[in-house]
Amino acid sequence: MPSQISPAWNTPAHLVSNRQVKPADLSTEVDITIKSPLLFEMLNKVSQEKKNIILDISQANRSSLEFFSDTWCKLYFTNSITEISKLETSSINTAHKWHRALVKSVGFYKNDKTDIDMILLWGLPNYLSKDQLKGLSSYLLPQCSKNTYLHMYIFNSEFMSRLPANYKIHNKNSVSIKPQNVSDEIVCPMYHLTNLQKYLAPFTLDHSVMLSSGIQEYIFKLS
């Protein structure tokens, strides 16, 4: 059950798998490239009329920056995957504590009063527990408007890499996934939409599509 899954970097030993990795799945240690139609549909909605505020929780990288360089935008790179990996998650056991931890570790951009237009969560939600997802939602909410898009990938495989991968926009219709250098795997929570909507409320589903790689791509918006 998703609620029983601990964050991957703090995963109990019994959830760690030692099975052989398969070349095609998400636990591989080599880069993979996926098509991401919803992401690019969303990115192509970027307005030319105003400055767009985009929050990317992954590590800043050249190709994503290059992609956005053709548009009028302000890009926030929070490097949250690295930051959150460093948190002592065993003591952060409520949504409220998680919210506070997020503000402390990655919340520097909150000084900016403008609403965010797009939030790129990539695969991070797979590594968060129920309470952590609630904390993430409450953390993001004050920065969002009715027009804010929340994009994420949810894995449907039984196992996933112990640490979240880094993502970058590869070209105008694909995304490359670079797994961190770990060989062990953990059980994947395989969050169902019903649970996601419950934990990420008041964000609700806008679009969803299953990719051939076994990843469910989601876009949420505020209801």
Partner: protein, 171 residues
């Protein structure tokens, strides 16, 4: 306020490692190929607290806290340089550590060894793979790529799913 010309007289003989020297010269050549003047250097043992202004290029191998305002010139933070300051310059190259905002009139480059915590405003921003960056980057559009319709694949065209629980696989 620190006058760079006076400072230059004082620190021009400061020791710099050959590595620092090479990095600095190559970097300044890249961003300012026509510059004939040797850029002003803040050596690795120098620690400056205050505002830095002047009329020449600057390379920082030491530690600077405060503000750096070289509006018509270039600033380079060398690999061993550490800066806790907002920087306003024509072109800025970061190879070392920076905690502060960058305003590059022409260009900002963060090299793979660079570690930046701050906000960048510049018409051109280059971020090398491996560079550590946390903050915001604000850019002006170079062209209207987004006004073009995306190339729709058969997958996205036919299987765009707006509905909730059940989803459709794409190729």
């Amino acid at each position: 306020m620190i006058d760079m010309k006076q400072l230059k007289d004082n620190v021009s003989n400061k020791l710099k490692t050959p590595e620092e020297e090479n990095t600095s010269v190559s970097s300044i050549k890249e961003i300012s190929p026509r510059s004939n003047n040797t850029p002003m250097a803040i050596g690795s043992t120098i620690h400056i607290k205050g505002d830095v202004t002047g009329d020449e290029d600057l390379i920082i191998h030491g530690h600077v806290e405060g503000k750096i305002n070289l509006k018509d010139h270039n600033v380079i933070i060398g690999k061993n340089g550490k800066v806790e300051a907002n920087i306003n310059a024509k072109q800025i190259v970061v190879e070392g550590e920076l905690n502060g905002d960058l305003n590059g009139e022409e260009k900002v480059v963060i090299r793979e060894t660079g570690n930046v915590l701050g906000n960048v405003i510049s018409p051109r921003v280059t971020l090398e793979d491996g560079a550590m960056f946390k903050g915001s980057i604000e850019m002006e559009p170079r062209n209207n790529k987004f006004s073009k319709k995306p190339e729709k694949t058969a997958d996205s065209k036919n299987n765009f799913k707006v509905n909730s629980n059940d989803s459709k696989a794409i190729a």
